[in-house]
Amino acid sequence: MRYREHMTTTYAVLSDGLEKRFGDVHALRGLDLAVAEGTVCGILGPNGAGKTTAVRVLTTLTTPDSGTATVAGHDVRDAPGAVRRAIGVTGQSASVDGELSGRENLRLFARLLRIRGAAGPTRADELLERFELTDAADRPARTYSGGMRRRLDLAASLLTRPEVLFLDEPTTGLDPHSRNQIWNAVRDLADRGTTVLLTTQYLEEADRLADDIVLIDQGRAAVTGTPAELKARIGSYAEVVVADGSAMLPAAAVLDQLTGAEPVLDHERRTVGAVAADPSLTLPRIVRELDAAGVPVVDASLRPPTLDEVFLRLTGRNTPEERAA
């Protein structure tokens, strides 16, 4: 998608300089987004970065203080009705009625979406089947597990095929089975041309689903790129555990030489870590070099960076949670 000619790219979601304040909290500080039609855009960021506010503005739930945004070609401020006809929303912001059963929820939404006659109930039953909710279909949704409820949420957004689907942290706190079901559904939709904007705290989720990732920090898009570009910029994280404290400095010297990044020493855990930007650096090589330098290595790992590390690396700052802790 990124290599398409500029002239032919149409954007399903476009925002320019969105600002939103809630009292003292400056949730959005000039957020610019451009999501090409038919792509999956992952908005990645820690709690409090402005992800949910961004979704609320784009789905007409909140009016921005300034800036503009269009969704499926309609301005969120001037034509909220047209935006609402084009979107589906699932997640933190939009849920289901816990007092109604799963089936009743879907039938209600189908009626409100003007799916007339028998088509509504039929579509509701299809979705219940697809998301493995048929057995629980007649129980009040408040008795559902977190995963079942989230699946019902997503089903409710798929009664019609929305042009743009917003998923606000769709898998936060879910078991792996429910998470996979949601991932499959998202991929399936994207394959059939729906534009998806999803927010997540999980690097892995953005990596698996998104064509483009926007890392947001303090209400602004800090970094934008494909998952591969982002990973190339961040690299992996190498960490070694040494047998005694005196071996930490020699270990740091080896890691410094191998990665070119400044090593981080944790004396309590006796670990030395460093970001490895070079993708050709392998774990065996790190261990060989340490061994050659006579460093008593107890444990070593080379793993994808966590969101905290990505954040620190790309914004030069700790995540809000880390700062709080």
Binding site: T62, A94, D97, S101, E104, L112, A156
Partner: protein, 260 residues
């Protein structure tokens, strides 16, 4: 307009389905006024004398009016409870009429209370209340009660959205029991001290209670009563229309703008 009716009907269905899943609240709502009739009628009734009629016969229209006024309490509680549900945001992201959610709530309330007035009236008939004005007058009285209930339900709906807190709405709601106490629902207002009588007679509940008494029992209000009580049928209609004219737009706007 047809959008409002179509979406409102869907939302009405939503509320009725919820009652089906949790019928306890409904049963409590229906038995409360009957309990009060028996309690007030037999406990207080023995100490209260209303000139020209049996106290229990005087009390039944008052309780019907108080039940109609209870729309404030139930409307407030339901709207406050609903305003916290995630499903509200889903409705707001859908191409649904902004009036449909409050309309569904108040319309469902109307159906439920209209049915709920029947047991109260039946028990009333069993303990000495008589409908002497004929079927048409009785139907008219029922119509006024339902209209007034619809109006108070919108008042409650707006207040509930404004309070936005289930617990606070519950507490404030239970404080509304005081409203019929300062009216002619349970006692005649003729003998109240001057200023209190004025307050009580301008309480819309007095107009409703007096209208029902007039239509069902041919009881006429005191000649020197305040306008809404002296012309109780017109007074009830006027009160209801004023409340609707003020609170329907307020509630719809509040619902549409919540969280923005």
């Amino acid at each position: 307009m047809s959008t409002i009716v179509y979406d409102g009907t869907a939302m009405l269905g939503r509320h009725l389905q919820r009652v089906k899943h949790a019928p306890g609240v409904l049963i409590l709502m229906q038995t409360m006024p009957v309990t009060m009739l028996l309690f007030f009628g037999y406990v207080f009734g023995s100490a209260l004398a209303v000139p020209g009629q049996e106290y229990r016969a005087f009390l039944v229209p008052g309780l019907l009016a108080a039940t109609a006024a209870n729309g404030i309490m139930s409307g407030m509680f339901q709207a406050a409870q609903d305003s916290h549900r995630g499903v509200m945001d889903r409705f707001r992201t859908m191409p649904v009429s902004r009036a449909a959610v409050p309309l569904g709530q108040t319309a469902a309330d109307l159906l439920i209370t209209a049915a709920g007035m029947v047991p109260l009236a039946l028990v009333g008939l069993a303990v000495g209340w008589r409908v002497e004005g004929g079927a048409l007058a009785a139907l008219g009285a029922f119509g006024l009660l339902v209209l007034f209930r619809f109006a108070t339900a919108w008042v409650g709906c707006y207040l509930g959205l404004l309070i936005h807190n289930e617990e606070a709405a519950g507490q404030l709601g239970s404080a509304t029991f005081i409203l019929p106490l300062i009216s002619s629902a349970y006692i005649p207002t003729d003998n109240l001290p001057g200023w209190l009588r004025t307050v009580a007679e301008w309480n819309p509940i007095s107009a409703v209670a007096t209208a029902v008494r007039g239509l069902c029992q041919n009881a006429s209000p005191a000649a020197d009563a305040a306008w809404p009580v002296a012309h109780p049928v017109a007074g009830t209609i006027a009160w209801s229309l004023v409340l609707l004219a003020v609170f329907v737009p307020l509630a719809v706007r509040k619902y549409a703008n919540s969280g923005r």
